[in-house]
Symmetry: C2
C-alpha cells in the first residue's frame, strides 16, 4: 500500500517542472498564468494518478483560512440543537466547510474559553448561541472583523449579524390560543436568565394574558439551579401552590420535559386536566398522550439562513452588511390544549 503522502514538490520533480507551475495548475490558474496546455494536462493527469491531496494544514498556514466553522450551542444533547446541528452540518459540508460543534452550557466562562480556543485555531467563522455575560467578547469579535452570526438570542446594544425567531409574537399567539380555548388561568414557566429570547417569550405571554383581562402567574427558575433535582423541586412547589392554574406554558423544551416528569410523579391528573403548551417542538410532544401543543421553530430555515449569512461573510468581497433575519414560528395545535368547557 502506498500510503505515502505526495507533496507539491514530488509532483514538480516527477514532471520536471517547478513547484510554482504545479501550484498554478492545481489552483486552476493555469490559463491565467499561461501555462502551456501540454504541461497543464501532464500535471493534471499525474495528480489524479497519484490521488494527490494538498496538505490542508500547510494551506491554512499560508492562506490563513481553515474552512472550519464553529457552531457553539448551549447543549448539543438538547434535541433542538442537535437537529439544527445536523442540518447545518449538511449545508456546510456541501460548501466545503467543516463544522466544529461545542456546548457552552449557557455558561460565560466556558463560552469565553471556547471562543479563545478557536480563535487560536484560526477558524473561519463563528455561529454562536451566546450566554448572557459574553457581550464584551462578542463586541470584540465584531470589531476585529471575525465572521460571526448569533442565533436564538442577541445583545440589543450590539450591531451584528443574527438569525432569530419572533419570540414575542410566537409567545403571544401561543397564549392567545390557550385563551381562545377557554383557559383562564395560565401559568408561565421559564428561567431567570435575562436573555432576549426568554424576555420576549415572557413579554408575549404577559401581553396576551393582560389584554384578555386575566392574571399572570410566572415561575422563573434560577439558572443556578444546576441539578435537575433542584429544578424539579421548584416546579413541584409552583405547581402545588398554584392548583388554580388551568393551563401551563413551558418556555423551553427541557422545562416542559421536566414539567411532565414532575406532573407524572406528583400530580398525574394535571396532565390531562390542564392545558399544556411548550416552546420548541420535539418528537416527544408528537407522541405523548395527550400530544402536546408546541411552538415549532423552523429548523431548516434557521439553518439555511445561518449558513447563508455565514457564507456571505466568508466571501472575499463580502460587503459589510449587517443583517438581522427574523423568522416566524408555527403553533402546532395538539391534544394538550383542546378547547375547554366549563
Amino acid at each position: 500500500m502506498k500510503k505515502q503522502h505526495y507533496s507539491i514538490k514530488d509532483i514538480a520533480k516527477a514532471n520536471g517542472v517547478s513547484v510554482t507551475t504545479v501550484s498554478f495548475v492545481i489552483n486552476g490558474k493555469a490559463k491565467e498564468k499561461k501555462i502551456s496546455k501540454a504541461v497543464t494536462e501532464k500535471i493534471l493527469k499525474y495528480i489524479t494518478k497519484i490521488k494527490y491531496k494538498p496538505n490542508q494544514i500547510a494551506q491554512s498556514l499560508r492562506t490563513g483560512k481553515t474552512n472550519i466553522i464553529v457552531f457553539m450551542v448551549e447543549d448539543i444533547a438538547n434535541p433542538f440543537f442537535a437537529n439544527l446541528a445536523r442540518i447545518i452540518e449538511d449545508i456546510a459540508y456541501e460548501k466545503g466547510y467543516r463544522v466544529l460543534f461545542c456546548s457552552n452550557d449557557n455558561n460565560d466562562d466556558k463560552s469565553l474559553e471556547l471562543i479563545n480556543l478557536f480563535k487560536d485555531r484560526a477558524v473561519d467563522g463563528f455561529i454562536i448561541i451566546p450566554s448572557s455575560g459574553i457581550e464584551k467578547k462578542i463586541g470584540e469579535l465584531i470589531s476585529e472583523g471575525v465572521p460571526l452570526v448569533l442565533f436564538d438570542r442577541y445583545f440589543p446594544n450590539l450591531e451584528n449579524n443574527k438569525v432569530i425567531v419572533d419570540n414575542k409574537k410566537a409567545s403571544y399567539t401561543a397564549t392567545q390560543h390557550l385563551i381562545s380555548n377557554n383557559y383562564k388561568n395560565i401559568g408561565f414557566i421559564s428561567t431567570d436568565v435575562d436573555q432576549t429570547q426568554m424576555l420576549d417569550r415572557l413579554e408575549g405571554y404577559k401581553n396576551a394574558v393582560l389584554e384578555a383581562g386575566l392574571t399572570d402567574s410566572i415561575l422563573r427558575i434560577p439558572l443556578r439551579c444546576i441539578g435537575i433535582g433542584d429544578k424539579k423541586k421548584q416546579l413541584e412547589t409552583f405547581l402545588g401552590e398554584n392548583a388554580q392554574l388551568d393551563a401551563i406554558y413551558f418556555a423551553t423544551n427541557y422545562l416542559a420535559i421536566t414539567g411532565l416528569i414532575v406532573m407524572k410523579e406528583n400530580f398525574p391528573s394535571y396532565i390531562t386536566e390542564k392545558g399544556i403548551i411548550a416552546f420548541d417542538d420535539i418528537d416527544l410532544f408528537k407522541l405523548y398522550s395527550p400530544t402536546i401543543t408546541a411552538v415549532q421553530q423552523p429548523l431548516e430555515q434557521i439553518a439555511t439562513k445561518l449558513m447563508d449569512t455565514m457564507l456571505n461573510l466568508l466571501k472575499e468581497d463580502s460587503e459589510n452588511l449587517v443583517s438581522t433575519v427574523v423568522l416566524e414560528t408555527e403553533l402546532i395545535e395538539r391534544e394538550s390544549t383542546q378547547k375547554r368547557f366549563k
Copy 2:
C-alpha cells in the same frame, strides 16, 4: 484594542533573545535546555503580559499533530449519539482535544468521503461508528497506524480497538424479561443491515424465544427504505398482519419511535395491550404512557472507555495493544412490559 497577534519572533526581538530560547521556554524545556532562570522568567512574564497564544496551525504543520479527534456517528440528531457526543466532547476538551462530529447516515460513500476529508486535515484520531461497507477503508486506516476506535459495531475480520456492548446478552435478557412476564408471541423489529450490533440483538432474541419453545416473528426493514413514510408502511403491514403478537421488541430507539407513531395512528389499542420494549433508553421512554421498558446502554462508561482508548493510542509511547472493551447494558423495566395474565 491591540488585536495584533504576536509571534514567537516578536517575543524574541522584544526580549533580545533568539526564537529558540523563546520556543524552549514556551514548551517547558527551559530547565532541560539549561536556559538561565533570569531569561526564563523574563520571557514568561512577557508572554503572560501580551497574552501570547501560539499559532496552532503552524504548530500543527510542524508537529503533524492537530489535537483534533473525529467522532463519526450515524446521525448526530439521534438522541443516543447526541448524548454520547456531549460526554465525549467534555472529556476531550478537558484533555486539550477538540472533537469534530460528523454524521455518516450509515452510508458507505459518505463515510469514505468523510474519512478521506479528515485524513487530509491530519486529524489525530478517529472514533467511528462504521457503516457496513467500509471494512476495506477501516483496514487501511489500521495498517497505516491511524489511531482508531470503533464503537457500537465492528468488523469481525479486523483486529482493532473497539468499544461495544454485549448486545447478544442484552437482547437475550430483554426477551427473557418479556417471556417471564408471560408474553408468548414476541415480535422483533429491526433493520436488514448485516452489522454486528443488529445481528447480535437478533440472535439474543432468537435464542431466548426458541429456548422457551416459542415462535419468532421478525421484521427486518430494508435500510433502503429511506423515507420515514416507507418505514411506517412496512411497520403498519407487519403489525396489521401479526395481530397475534402480544409483545414487540424494537431493536433501536428510532424504530421504537416510528413504531409508537404507527401504533398511535393505526392500532391505538396496541399501545396498552401489547408489551413494548426498546433498545436504547431515551427521555421519551421515561415519559410515555405507558412508560417504555428499554435496554439502557451505559453512556458515561462508553464515552469514558472510548476516550481512554483514544488517548492511549495518542500517547507517544503507546504500546500497540489492541483492546476490545465489552460493556454491560441494563434493562430498565417500566410499565410497558408489566406482567401479563391470561
